[in-house]
Subunit: 232 residues, 2 copies
Amino acid sequence: MSTCETCAVRNRAICSSLDGGEIQALSSMGRRRTVAAGEPLIWEDDDSLLVANVIDGVLKLTTSTEDGREQIVGVAYPSDFIGRPFGQTSRATVVALTDARVCVFARNDFDRFAREHPELEHKLLERTLAELDRTRSWMMLLGRKTAPEKIATFLLDMSDRYGDVSACTTFRAPAKLFTLPFSRQQVADLLGLTIETVSRQFTKLKQDGVIGLPSRREVEILNRPALSALAG
Amino acid sequence: MSTCETCAVRNRAICSSLDGGEIQALSSMGRRRTVAAGEPLIWEDDDSLLVANVIDGVLKLTTSTEDGREQIVGVAYPSDFIGRPFGQTSRATVVALTDARVCVFARNDFDRFAREHPELEHKLLERTLAELDRTRSWMMLLGRKTAPEKIATFLLDMSDRYGDVSACTTFRAPAKLFTLPFSRQQVADLLGLTIETVSRQFTKLKQDGVIGLPSRREVEILNRPALSALAG
DNA sequence: CGATAACTTGACGGCGGTCAAGCGGCGTGG
DNA sequence: CCACGCCGCTTGACCGCCGTCAAGTTATCG
């Protein structure tokens, strides 16, 4: 039995392509589970056994070198799809950044179901293409931007992500004040920097009056044009 | 009228999902064209009007900052699919690195056709997922690897890409000697380095006897284990 | 054979990484 | 309620990698 009807992401996740009967069939294959902050869900280079929809919370996708250097290669928010369908192994580790709820499926089951439901595959394709676009623009940041540019770009990105949709349904105003789901180290892993450089750049922006830092995880945008100019 | 039956990538491109009648319909919508080395095919932030299959040649996908810094975010080889279906704008510029032949479609036509042919969309999905995997592992390189590690990783990557399939159909032996489709500047744009750093690292590897450089575009792998060790 | 572009090499400096110490907020336990 | 300790973060000093600028060299093509 399922709670799909009342699911918070019912109309945004790839499931939105399915009608009542179909979603019943899909939900009978999956199950909900919670992932505590810091807890892994999928391991890099492991057999790809799981795929999932994110219902609530934020998770990071990372890859690591043998000597322990880490790079965050993606971030999954509610309604995002995670895992590697149609492939033997997962190429990224998935770890929850906040307490999270996900809707997990055995990859084999999901693959079979998806191939029988083209509308679902289409939604997944659109999502994957959009994710590839985002990933590629992040490559630009990693390969060619300086530390101040990286930080500014990141903050604007977060501000948009946590924007307010209340005013208007089509336009989402960027948030002035928001809470980061990342620690300083995780920001560093996202931007290809060290924690010290991240800290110094935050302090610099605060001193220059561009941002405020009410608490460790909170950021307030005080001078958006300045931040945009810095973003490169 | 079409030459799909004799197309060099007929069995590897996404078209391989289509039967005779279907491919006839698709090919009637598209046309072949050549793209000279250095010539662009798609522009960043332009309306996404074109998609294409690569028949022959190599193309680069790039994004640029306003002040002219460039990052190569992808490389398309024969049988690869390029362009942005199901989206209003293309987020990368596509430029031919070598003289190339492509099979182009108006995006609108392609989108409509794809939605009517789930097997084609499935192939496209598998390709996109694989490309996302590759792109993410490249993020690791851009964000966390040093210049020597980047160069070593790049050369091993190229060696695999140009491997010989003659010996065995399932296993592709990495190439000892191969010709780069990239100039030094393009290698720099791929790795997030400057042309000078690329040049110096090549020279260093040559001096150390790890590689040979018979000509500007050719590379010979002399000590693969050493290169693997350097790749990080 | 000359012109031009692509590449190499050298000198130098700055950005950001490394190492180390200090700070502060929060939770725990006395 | 306060003392303490821990962990995440900040700050400082230093330095090395790699970017910048400039000159020299080698391929390529008309």
